[in-house]
Symmetry: C2
Subunit: 417 residues, 2 copies
């Protein structure tokens, strides 16, 4: 695909963005509900396209985990439809007056929430992202400009075709969802450089995708990065609560970014706590410092490396460190944190306050599982990702984070002296 | 300067950022007030360093405009000090609870405002930016990591040395201001790629600097871009008010980004309005479309080109277009706007509302000059720049825009089911 071809797709998305930016919540909701119905109504067509993708992936010998992420089922299609209905039920963020005031010269200033325009998303397998992302973009008044993976191309085409048809039925521009069908590396690069066309790029994928965006993107982007999340068990912690939290944070869904990857334990409770929590972590490989090995034994703990502390395992593996106190715990977290979610279990108010103040992460949690850093768990209804950077959005990104603001200034002839 | 040398400077700024992030407003204000006093107390030293910079620039034969931007005077030093005192008087944005709520499971969530960390600024001449930017960064709890131009190096060194001494006197880390003294192109490139060290880069300079940032930066950045600002005079406008606004927007300070560069006039009032406004714009070169030339005559108007419409003149030049109505006016603005500030002069409520809704810019103004899009005029007290992009900050950036947020989550043992 030449640069002009992908730029032309971008121009279609931009033209559509101007129309959906002005659409009423009612009209956008109608589009979402029609799309949900049509996803179910044309489910067979989507599943047939997906079966072709899956067959090709299996033929190419990819891992079963990859096939699992790629594969749709009637239940997954129903879940995509349910997701769109859920987004339709959320409040429209567009038009919110964020703040407003009057200047001494009489100028009235309001900062109001408006759509971003064209939101571009590059994503790997998981064809449900096509529907989820398009729905959130539409509700926030944006056009979705989507580039999925080659392995999911037929599935994505089928889903996009259904959504575009539904939009047309709701008198919305079909180009409120534009799918890039050229999944070459070169097209990804061109995509990231469509200045003046893409208002926000959200890459959803692994570290090589993030690195490519940092290297090549010239359009503004938000990084949905790794989660190397810690749970620190303080001297004063309720140890039963701490074991529940660690077990939940590590094992409830180890493959996601808000799962815990590292346990940090205050030395004064390590002897009592580590055996209890190790028993709760049956099946979890522990990689610990010498103190941990000393307490749990070499049969249960592998010696930890610096690399282990820095790693997001996304697996049933947990690094463990025993520290002398809160200072050392904060220092450890500061060194290895990816800025996603960090938790402390403590009964000590001063320790809780210091940890929350001094740890620099999107979410700092006291006495709860790291697994709650999530758009739905936060009450945003749905999320487009979790930002681990500090600009624009930090933490779970919902509809609000898919908007920007503009200032509306009103006067009666004011000029500047 | 090797990569490691600039990275080491960055690490110093990062270490300092952790301390200033936790400093109280009182302590930060003390640092700012001491810095203001010391700027005045050591004014001779700053002026001597500046005289060397100016002499070298004059010797190198740069334009008088460049020399003027570079040159300090006792009044300019006093104005830098006044700027720091003004920032000390502003409310501290850190710690503000942006919103907070309780989830059905009892989790308490607060989104609170926290410093960004290390704010990096690349800027051209104008040594006062060293003091202005450092002061704003400090008040928002950030370390300022500054890279000025080679022409202003001695001036910047002198100012930085004064501020660092004042910070030390206030028991703040001197590295809350780190100045990069290597002003080579290569160091600028390394600077933009200090991932994990710079939390936000704000380039302040011309289009070649912006292009370099887009091409090379891997750290997050906010673009303070061009202002190709329009004033649209609607059919229903109070034409006297319109002439006042156009004259003010064009001539009050033509060299700045919120000055008007283009006048768009409704055909039904063009015959009456254009001669009046042209008389008010004595000394302003007009570049107009055929209708404008027809009304004002070829002696007064140069035929406009498409390039003229797209240009930010920053000079006493104004492009002029006569349109058939609001639709065409919005279409014209949409095509050429740089997304900074767009104004309409109208008495028609529906026209005002449509213009504000449909024009996509940081500020959309009704019946006032474009010149008000400015941190001080908006009431923010001071500004670090004006963002023309949509992520993180849009429009004037004050202290609030130099912060991010984090989520503080508190529970009593909640785990995810």
């Amino acid at each position: 695909m030449g640069t002009s071809a992908i730029a032309e797709l971008g121009q279609r998305a931009r033209a559509a963005s101007r129309i959906v930016a002005l659409a009423s919540a009612q009209q956008k909701n109608e589009g979402l509900l029609l799309a949900a119905d049509l996803l179910e109504g044309r489910g067979e067509e989507i599943l047939a396209a997906n079966a072709d993708d899956v067959a090709e992936a299996v033929g190419a010998g990819v891992t079963s985990a990859v096939v699992d992420r790629l594969r749709l089922s009637p239940a997954r299609v129903a879940s995509m439809a349910a997701g769109l209905r859920q987004v339709a039920a959320l409040d429209d963020p567009v038009g919110e007056v964020v703040r407003g005031w009057v200047r001494p010269n009489g100028l009235q200033i309001r900062q109001v929430r408006v759509p971003l325009g064209v939101v571009a998303i590059i994503y790997e397998n998981r064809p449900n992202v096509t529907s989820d992302a398009a729905g959130l973009c539409l509700k926030a008044g944006n056009a979705a400009f989507l580039r999925g993976s080659s392995a999911a191309l037929r599935s994505n085409q089928a889903i996009a075709s259904v959504l575009r048809a539904a939009y047309a039925n709701a008198s919305l521009p079909p180009d409120a969802l534009v799918l890039v069908e050229d999944t070459s590396y070169e097209s990804a690069r061109q995509f990231m450089q469509l200045d003046g066309c893409i208002d926000c790029l959200i890459p959803r994928g692994g570290s090589s995708l993030i690195a490519a965006v940092k290297e090549h993107a010239t359009v503004p982007y938000v990084i949905d990065g790794d989660g190397n999340c810690h749970v620190y068990v303080d001297a004063s912690a309720d140890l039963e609560m701490a074991a529940d939290i660690v077990a939940n944070a590590k094992t409830q869904r180890p493959s996601v970014c808000n799962a815990a990857e590292s346990l940090v334990v205050h030395r004064s409770v390590a002897e009592r706590f580590l055996p209890d929590v190790a028993a709760r972590l049956d099946g979890v490989e522990l990689r610990g410092d010498p103190a941990t090995v000393g307490i749990l034994g070499a049969h249960r703990v592998i010696p930890v490396t610096d690399d282990d502390y820095a790693r997001e395992f996304l697996d049933l593996i947990l690094s463990v460190r025993v520290v002398d106190g809160l200072d050392q715990a904060i220092e450890h977290v500061r060194r290895y944190s990816s800025g996603h979610t960090e938790a402390i279990v403590t009964a000590d108010l001063a320790a809780a306050r210091r940890f929350q103040r001094e740890v620099d992460a999107a979410a700092v949690v006291v006495n709860a599982s790291t697994r709650f850093t999530d758009g739905e768990e936060f009450g945003f209804g749905a999320e487009i990702g979790i930002s681990t950077q500090k600009l624009h959005a930090r933490g779970p990104m919902g509809l609000r984070e898919l908007t920007t603001t503009k200032y509306l200034v009103e006067g009666n002839g004011q000029i500047r002296g």
